[in-house]
C-alpha cells in the first residue's frame, strides 16, 4: 500500500518539478513553442515543432515497417510453427530486445547507414523518386535510417505481446471456424486475428511507446538537424534526442527550461500512449478469461 502510494507520489512530484522547471519557457513562448521551428540557443529563440515532427514521423515509419513483420512472426509462432521451432525462435526474437540501444546505434551508423546510402537509396530514387518522400540527397543518416533502426528495436515488443494475445484466443474459436469449412488462413484471419484485434492494437501501441521514447540509437543515426522535410532521406531530430544532446551543456535559464518543456511534452505523449495500450490489453484479457489454450 505504502509503496504503491509512494510510486504515485513520485510520478506526481516528477510532473510537478518538470512543469515548474519548464515555466520560464512556457511563459515566454506559450503555444508558439509547439508550432514554431527555430531552435537557436545563441539568440535564445526556441520552438519544438521539428522535434515533435521528427518523433512522430520516425515512430510512424517504424510502425509501418515493424507491424506487418511482427504480426507475421507472431502468427507463425503462435499458429503455424512446429513445436521444436517455437521456443528457440521466440527466444532469439526476444533477444533483440535485450541489445542495448547504443549498440543498435553503432551498427546503424557503421553498418546500416552505408548500406542504405549505397544500395537502398539509389533503388528508391530510381523507382519511387517521383514521390516527394524519396527525393533529395541522402547521406546515409536521416529519418529513413532512424525509422528502420527503430522498427528493428520494436519488433520484439510487438511480436512477443501479439503472440501471447494469439495464444490467449480460446481453441473453440479455431475449432468452430475449421468446422465451418474455413481454410487455415481463414481460420487465422477470422477466428484468431478477429478475436484478438484489441490486444494486437495494445501491442502496437506499446511498441510505439518504445519508439517515441528511444533516444540513443536514434540520436546516432537521425542526423540531428532541427528541420521539417517531407523527404525521408533528409536528416531530422527527435524530442528525446535533443534532450540527450543538449541538456548537459545547456547554459542559460531559458535554454534549459525549453529543454525541460520538451521533456514535459514527451512525458505526456508517452503517458497517453501507454494509457491507451493498457486499456486495450485489459479489454482483450477480460474477454479471454473464459478458456485459455495452453
Amino acid at each position: 500500500m505504502l509503496t504503491a502510494l509512494s510510486v504515485t507520489a513520485l510520478t506526481l512530484l516528477l510532473i510537478y518539478s518538470m512543469v515548474t522547471n519548464a515555466l520560464p519557457a512556457i511563459q515566454k513562448f506559450g503555444w508558439h513553442f509547439l508550432f514554431t521551428s527555430t531552435w537557436d540557443p545563441v539568440k535564445e529563440i526556441f520552438g519544438a515543432l521539428p522535434f515533435i515532427y521528427g518523433t512522430l514521423v520516425s515512430s510512424a515509419l517504424a510502425l509501418l515497417i515493424a507491424v506487418p513483420i511482427s504480426l507475421g512472426i507472431a502468427i507463425y509462432l503462435a499458429e503455424l510453427a512446429p513445436q521444436f521451432i517455437r521456443q528457440p525462435l521466440s527466444f532469439l526474437i526476444e533477444l533483440l530486445a535485450a541489445i542495448p540501444s547504443v549498440v543498435y546505434g553503432f551498427w546503424g551508423i557503421f553498418g546500416l547507414a552505408p548500406f542504405l546510402r549505397t544500395a537502398v537509396q539509389p533503388f528508391l530514387s530510381k523507382y519511387l523518386g517521383f514521390l516527394p518522400l524519396f527525393q533529395g540527397q541522402f547521406f546515409g543518416v536521416g529519418m529513413l535510417t532512424a525509422g528502420i533502426i527503430l522498427s528493428i528495436m520494436i519488433i520484439p515488443t510487438i511480436s512477443s505481446i501479439s503472440r501471447e494475445v494469439f495464444l490467449a484466443v480460446p481453441s473453440n474459436q479455431r475449432e468452430a471456424a475449421t468446422a465451418l469449412g474455413a481454410t487455415r488462413w481463414e481460420t487465422i484471419r477470422l477466428a484468431v486475428l478477429g478475436y484478438s484485434k484489441t490486444g494486437v492494437w495494445g501491442a502496437v501501441i506499446l511498441g510505439l511507446g518504445r519508439a517515441i521514447g528511444e533516444t540513443m540509437a536514434v540520436t546516432m543515426v537521425i542526423g540531428n538537424r532541427p528541420q521539417i522535410s517531407v523527404s525521408l532521406f533528409a536528416p531530422g531530430y527527435t524530442m528525446a534526442s535533443v534532450i540527450a544532446n543538449e541538456f548537459t551543456e545547456a547554459t542559460g535559464k531559458l535554454y534549459l527550461s525549453s529543454l525541460v518543456e520538451i521533456g514535459v511534452i514527451l512525458f505526456f505523449l508517452t503517458l497517453i500512449i501507454n494509457g491507451i495500450a493498457r486499456f486495450l490489453i485489459w479489454k482483450v484479457s477480460n474477454k479471454a478469461k473464459g478458456r485459455i489454450r495452453e
Binding site: T38, V42, P114, G140, G223, Y237, S241, T248, E249, T251
Partner: protein, 341 residues
Amino acid sequence: MKKFFLGLILTTLALSLTAGPTLANKLLLINGAGGTFPYPLYSKWFYEYAKIEPVNFNYQAIGSGAGIKQITERTVDFGASDAALTDKQMKQAPGLLHIPMTAGAVVISYNLPQVTQRLKFTPDVLADIYLGKITKWNDPRISRINPGANLPNEGILVAHRSDGSGTTNIFTSYLSSVSPEWKKKVGFSTSVNWPVGLGGKGNQGVSGIIKQAEGGMGYIELAYAITNNLPYADLQNKAGNFITPTIETTTEAINGALSHMPDDFRVSCVNPGGANAYPISGVTWILVYKNQPNHVIGEELVKFLRWAITDGQKYSVDLLYAPLPESMVKKIEQRIDEINY
C-alpha cells in the same frame, strides 16, 4: 521481508556511523563537476596527486554547462568548464575565478580517399563551407589553396556536434572571430543553430558521419583525431601561415593569445597572433570562488591548483593535451594567490 529491510537499514546506519568519522579524518574529499573534455587529464591528476597529498577528489564529468550550474549554486567545491562564463552568468556567481588548467585544439577532419596530401583551409573558406556557400569539393576557392590536390566533383557533407560541447564553443568562437557574417547569423555557444550539415553525438558521432560517406568533413578534438588516426587539415592563422595542428602549435596559440588576455582569463584564445599558432585552440578552466567558505577545503584546493599548473603539466602531453606556456603559468599563480581561505 519487512524485517529484512529494517535489518538492512540498521546495518547501513551502524556502518556509516562507525566508518564515517574515521574515513573523514584520514581523507579529505573535494567535490567537483564540469566538462568532459578535460576529464582524462583531471582524473590522472587526481590519481597522481593522491599519492603525495591525503586528498580525494570526486569529479563528475557532467558537462560544462552543468558544471557552471553546480558551482553557481555552490553544491560543489569547484566547477570546470570549456567555455568562459558570460557576463550574465558571472552576475549570478560573484567572486568566481577562472583558472586555466590545460589547452586543446579543434581540427578539421575529412574523408577524401583520393587526396594524398594534407588539405589546407583558409579562415574564409572554412566559414563559407559552414555557412553553406561553398558546397563542392572542387570549388575554385578550395582548389586555389590546394594546388595539385585531386579534389573530386562531389558535395561537401558537413558534420558538426549535435550535443552541446566546449568543442563546439571553441569552433564557433573561431568562426565568429574570422567571419563577421557568421558572427551575425549564427554566433557562438556550446550549441548553435547550424546553417548546414548533419549533427553527430560526440567526437565519435562526428567522425562516424565523416567516415561513412566520401566527401564528409567535420570538426573534432585534436586528441581524438590523433588517437584514431584520422586525417586533418592545416589551417591558415592570423599571421598568414598554414599551420598543422599539434600539441606544440596549440601551446604556441595560447602563448600568442596571452598578450591581450585580461587578468581574469575570461576570454577565448581563438585566432591569436604568433607565427606558429594553430588558430582553433582554447583553454579549459577550473572555476573556484575567491572566498572559500571552508578553510580546510580551500587550503587543499589552492595547493592542488598550484601543483596542477606546474608539476601537473608534465602529464598533459601523454594524454594529448597542450601544456600551458610558462609565461602564463606565472600569471595564473598570481590569481591563485588571491584565493582566501
